[in-house]
Amino acid sequence: MRTFSLSLAALALLAPDVALACGGMFCDAAAPVDQAAERIFFFFEPDTDDDGLGLLTTEVQISYVGESAGFAWVVPVPAEPDIFLSNDAMFTAVANNTTPVYALVTQATGSLQLGCATENALSGDFDSAEDGGNGVSVVSSEAVGPYDTVTLQAENADRLVTWLQDEGYAVPDGLELSLAPYVAAGQYFVALKLQSDKESGDIAPIGMTYPAAAASIPIQLTAIAAVDDMPIEVFVYGPARAVPDNYLHVQINDAAINWYDGADNYRDVVGNAVDEAGGQAFATDFSGTAAGSVLSLPSLDLDQMRGQPAPTSWLETIVFSGITASTQLTNLMLELVPPPDGVDPLDFLSCPTCYDVDSADWDPQVATDRFEADVLDVMEGQQDRMEAAPWLTRLFTTMDAAEMTADPVFVFNRDVEQEISATRTATSVERQSAFSGEALSRTLVLADARSIVVPDASDFDALTTLASPAALVIEDYSSKGEPEAVADFTEAAAADAEAFNAGCSDTAAVGVPVLLLAAGILRRRRTG
């Protein structure tokens, strides 16, 4: 029996694409960092008519937990946008392909080891375009996927909030303050709410295309619903490496990474580095060729599917096609071909033809049209945008609401180093016991050539004393030229490493009292 597990497919997507190349070393740790974050994608097509404006497509994942009637989403944009439904397949696939991977390569001496080095292969019913005398103009309205959308302009923020609330958009009181700068700047506003027959589980990513000079996140508006240290991942597709224009940039201190413990503190290190840079800064996770699409979009015989009389066979055609999994695809399949009562949906999708379903209302024409429009066309659009862009930059930050006081703008800079690998490597030079293979001594060699002697070969906690500063370099980028360093701790960090090594080599002064303390503890335990 063939089986297919969407959940397993999703798990597979979470694993980084790692290629192994055998050599004289072995890799004992190649850890992708935690990936949960707010994600926003920008696709920038440069100006072609000398008006200073390119065409920007923004796609956003929307996280929401709660009642469907309580959902509303408002975002300012510089011009009237084309709004379209997006799909989370791209968000997951691209994020996984560009996730920073920390690889600790062990270089053994004293006994022979064989192994591999690792490298990351890497429905609205509004009157259109009129001001009803309330200071709010409805520019357009339409149904997009599960949403009713409306594009507005407003004379003041109070009236905009009142209008949204009157029209059933569950925006909170107090939003006026956050909206005011955007109203004053003459921006347009896109508002979404779920259609009355939709549920919060139907919430899908949304996309917008509009003229713009660069990509920007309306972070001041995000502040109203932000959590502490909110992780934000920004993916910018465009002609060159993208850099923050009005935020600072941080290069993190590799000594702050806990290399010997799975490198699972990357995000904390970036968060600390951003804090040291005043809270408004980004780190670059990856910058490189976009390398086309990462979506699996197999060629399906839609004509054959439109004539498929058995709904489970129709379903099986999709689930075994190799198409990139997404929440939207799963929801659509379960909507079009509901599982029998009492059957777990994922069990059903893993083997649709293992079950009998009621096919009385089955219409393969309608189902295939929905699949084509809601999934295939959306993914093809994403694929086209990814293939059209030569360069992808992934930036990361964490922010508190109090830090969201200026909207970050991202520009392209061809003058700076373009490629930033997602794979960061350090080497642990170890002298090992010829008998047990146990490490007798360890020296951590970072990519910037700093060597750090690990105390007692396994006292990794001691390395945390080298974790500050988290930002090795704080710098200011613009669209041209090299970045200007604001604060540079490179030399200080190198000196710290040397001092640390010198301190560790002098074990007599520190080791004796600790030995006495340990003896005291043992004595108390024996007499207790």
């Binding site: 510089p78 040291e276 030995l515």
Partner: protein, 156 residues
């Protein structure tokens, strides 16, 4: 049974000192232009901001002699038309600044670019106006310092 523990005292990382260093001072300049390089009457670039909306001019600011701006500061930018005595823009940023330790800014508090928006104006309505830009930096304990420049708004 004997256990051996070895410990290392953590080294102190040398941090630059910006608090209470000398007299209070501030400098404002157009983004990408060195402080004090803009002479009165020089062009002051403005244009449509990358994210759209009202016209803007980008500036950078540095200051010294104020207390712990790394924990919080406010920077107010005010743009006035000198001839007509008209307020063109008034924007306050709440932020945390960074103590620079390299280059000409070493020992001063700095940040990234700050955008002065000209809400209510279009590009044509600003062209050629002679404006005074005043940047006022304030710490959280009541200290503040200002600097001004005068330039002629010129499209980027």
């Amino acid at each position: 049974m004997f256990w051996f523990f070895f410990a290392c005292a953590g080294p102190e990382v040398a941090r630059p000192a910006c608090d209470d260093v000398g007299d209070r001072a501030a400098a404002v300049a157009p983004a990408g232009v060195a402080y004090d390089d803009l002479a009165e009457g020089d062009p002051l670039p403005y244009g449509t901001p990358p994210q759209g909306g009202s016209p803007y001019s980008p500036f950078h600011v540095r200051t010294s002699g104020l207390v712990d701006l790394g924990e919080g500061a406010s920077v107010r930018l005010v743009a006035e038309d000198i001839d007509g005595d008209v307020l063109l823009g008034d924007t306050t940023y709440e932020l945390r600044m960074v103590c620079a330790n390299v280059g000409d800014d070493a020992g001063s508090w700095v940040g990234s670019d700050l955008h002065q928006r000209f809400d209510g104006y279009d590009l044509d309505g600003l062209e050629g106006r002679e404006v005074r830009i005043t940047a006022t930096v304030a710490d959280r304990v009541g200290g503040s310092v200002s600097d001004s420049l005068i330039g002629v708004l010129t499209r980027m």
